[in-house]
């Protein structure tokens, strides 16, 4: 469809800091690269009850235009309210490409939007680029839990993708870009409400947030139970890091399921990632292989994790972890 033009990013705000979310910033920089390649505009759209700040920040980060759908009724995500806004905007501006970060909200929203726009979506892309003719978006996504990389193209328009959000995506620097903020009319009569959130329980996790930690100490099935995780907690604490886990410890209730790292858990890319008693399934590696340095402790020398680690110890973690922790503590104290 040749009349489609430009790149649209569906943005999210960081609800704690009330700013443009880091993940959105990363996607804005991807969008900028595509828009420059096409010599077309980059826009972003924000929906909520108070999203002027993130919209303005998106312009400083490189957007030519930021659309704003602001209304009290939009303060909570409800697909029945958000979708008509996005559908109308897409039909009005006819973007060539529509992108969003692969967050929980967008995983819920984007497939619905794709269906309504009579197109398809590739979720959880690790790379997107234009083909040689600049006509189609090539979207790279791990499949089979990361055992293969597929490159997809979409034959319908717009081309839609959600982009995996851990680092590796350098967030766009705040430049002195000029652009305009455009307010969208919000049809407030839309409230026919097919679903309603009646209760929400946020689990308070002490210490550093897993996705933001510089150091992550993760344990797997090989840890054997809740007691073993105490060692890992201690290590995480002295390194000012966060505790993570592969899926089995979460399923078995040894740790909170919020600690799960991997394809269907959190995506992390810290400076240092400790994988203790973790075999290295692709589904787990997917969530952490972009860490700068990976340290593996496993009693099985043939464990797959060693193929992806920078440092390794072959041995029982119960024997090697305590002396490691002791020595690490000493070395860190010596520094200050």
């Amino acid at each position: 469809m040749s009349e489609c033009k430009g790149v649209l990013v569906v943005g999210e705000k960081d609800t704690v800091r009330e700013t443009l979310s880091k993940a959105t910033r990363g996607v804005v920089s991807v969008g900028r690269r595509l828009a420059d390649g096409l010599s077309e505009h980059l826009s972003a759209v924000f929906i909520g009850d108070n999203v002027k700040d993130p919209a303005e920040q998106s312009i400083r980060c490189g957007c030519d235009r930021a659309y704003l759908a602001e209304h009290g009724s939009l303060c909570e995500y409800d697909p029945d309210l958000y979708l008509p806004v996005l559908q109308k905007l897409s039909e009005d501006i006819k973007p060539r490409v529509v992108l969003a970060p692969h967050t929980a909200l967008m995983q819920d929203l984007f497939p619905r939007l794709a269906y309504r726009l009579k197109t398809c979506v590739v979720t959880d892309c690790i790379h997107v680029e234009l083909d040689d003719r600049g006509a189609a978006l090539l979207m790279t996504k791990p499949i089979y839990g990361g055992n293969a990389l597929a490159v997809y193209r979409c034959s319908s328009s717009p081309h839609m993708a959600t982009i995996r959000t851990h680092t590796g995506l350098s967030a766009a620097p705040a430049v002195d870009n000029q652009g305009e903020v455009v307010r969208l009319d919000v049809d407030t009569d839309l409230h026919f409400c097919r679903m309603k959130v009646t209760n929400r329980i946020r689990e308070e996790l002490n210490g550093v947030k897993l996705e933001e930690a510089e150091v992550v100490v993760s344990g797997g099935r090989g840890i054997g139970g809740t007691d073993g995780f105490e060692h890992l907690r201690e290590l995480a604490m002295i390194l000012n890091g966060a505790l993570g886990a592969s899926r089995p410890p979460c399923d078995l209730g040894w740790v909170s399921s919020l600690a799960q790292v991997g394809l269907t858990g959190k995506m992390v890319a810290p400076n240092v990632y400790f994988a203790v008693g973790i075999s290295g399934s692709m589904q787990h590696l997917t969530g952490m292989y972009e860490s700068r340095c990976i340290v593996a402790i496993n009693k099985d020398a043939t464990a797959n994790i060693f193929k992806f680690a920078d440092y390794g110890i072959v041995g029982d973690y119960r024997a090697v972890l305590p002396p490691f922790i002791e020595n690490m503590k000493e070395l860190l104290e010596r520094k200050v």
Binding site: Y115, A148, K196, K266, N327
Partner: protein
């Protein structure tokens, strides 16, 4: 309300827990050929089936399992009947091979199947399939049928004619009340599929298993693909691992600490 009707959508996939070395990638044919990896039910679909069975235990009704594809393994999909589903419908046609059908096409077939079955109150799918990892079919299906969809369900009950869903958030949990009919995508927190006994397997032999083809659904043209697979490659990202060795665990632990310090890692 009349008898509760629940449909669970199941996909057969190569066992995702197979060792990494078992996955052969044929870039020329753009195909993944898992060597010696048996097909299984996609794990999140098993979670969906478990949730369906629990809903039936609590509220009564009927659970229908549906799978769309080509070359479906009866042995694998029969597991749904053994676990407790009341009937199984295999919607199988050469035209429904993944070479022809993408997620969108699959949804059109599923929607036709569900229309033929008669509108259910609840449709359950896994949050995403273990092979394509897309997480699109459930939401597309709800849109195609024009019904409400709640994603990442870990539990559900029916209250006053509505469905009450516990939904997993990245940092907790929320409770959503939705109108029915509703589609839920189900996550692992819903719990593993129950154990199956020999007796369950024997009983399953007497349950209805239907085969429907494209023509039975009145589908004479295969829907055009919207998604094209351009390339398939093996991920290349192995690292060179320095194995720290020593005479005793104490020595190894100490050496690792020193090494990480000297290399400015920590």
């Amino acid at each position: 309300m009349d008898e509760l009707r629940i449909v669970v959508c199941l996909k057969q996939v190569p066992d995702p827990e197979a060792p990494v070395s078992a996955y052969r990638i044929d870039s020329a044919a753009k195909r993944v050929t898992p060597i010696g990896v048996p097909p299984v039910l996609s794990p999140f679909d098993e979670n969906a089936l478990e949730l369906a069975l629990r809903l039936r235990e609590r509220h009564g009704g009927k659970v229908t399992a549906v799978s769309v594809g080509s070359n479906l393994s009866k042995a694998v999909l029969r597991k749904a009947l053994s676990a407790g589903a009341d009937e199984l419908i295999l919607v199988e046609d050469p035209a429904f091979s993944p070479d022809f059908l993408d997620g969108y096409g699959t949804v059109l077939v599923l929607a036709q199947t569900i229309n033929k079955l008669g509108a259910p109150h609840i449709i359950l799918t896994g949050r995403q399939a273990a092979d394509t990892n897309a997480g699109v079919v459930g939401l597309f299906l709800a849109e195609a049928l024009g019904i409400v969809a709640v994603t990442l369900a870990r539990g559900a009950t029916i209250e006053d004619g509505n469905i009450r869903v516990e939904r997993v958030l990245p940092d907790g949990l929320e409770v959503v009340i939705a109108t029915m009919p509703a589609l839920l995508t189900v996550t692992q927190e819903a719990g593993e599929l129950r154990n199956i006994s020999i007796k369950n397997m024997r009983d399953a032999k007497n349950k209805p298993l239907k085969h429907w083809k494209a023509a039975d659904l009145g589908m004479h043209v295969i829907p055009d693909r919207r998604l094209m697979l351009e390339e398939l490659a093996a991920p290349a990202r192995e690292r060179k691992c320095l194995i720290i060795e020593g005479g005793s665990p104490d020595e190894v632990g100490k050496k690792l600490a020193l090494r990480l310090r000297n290399d400015n890692v920590l």
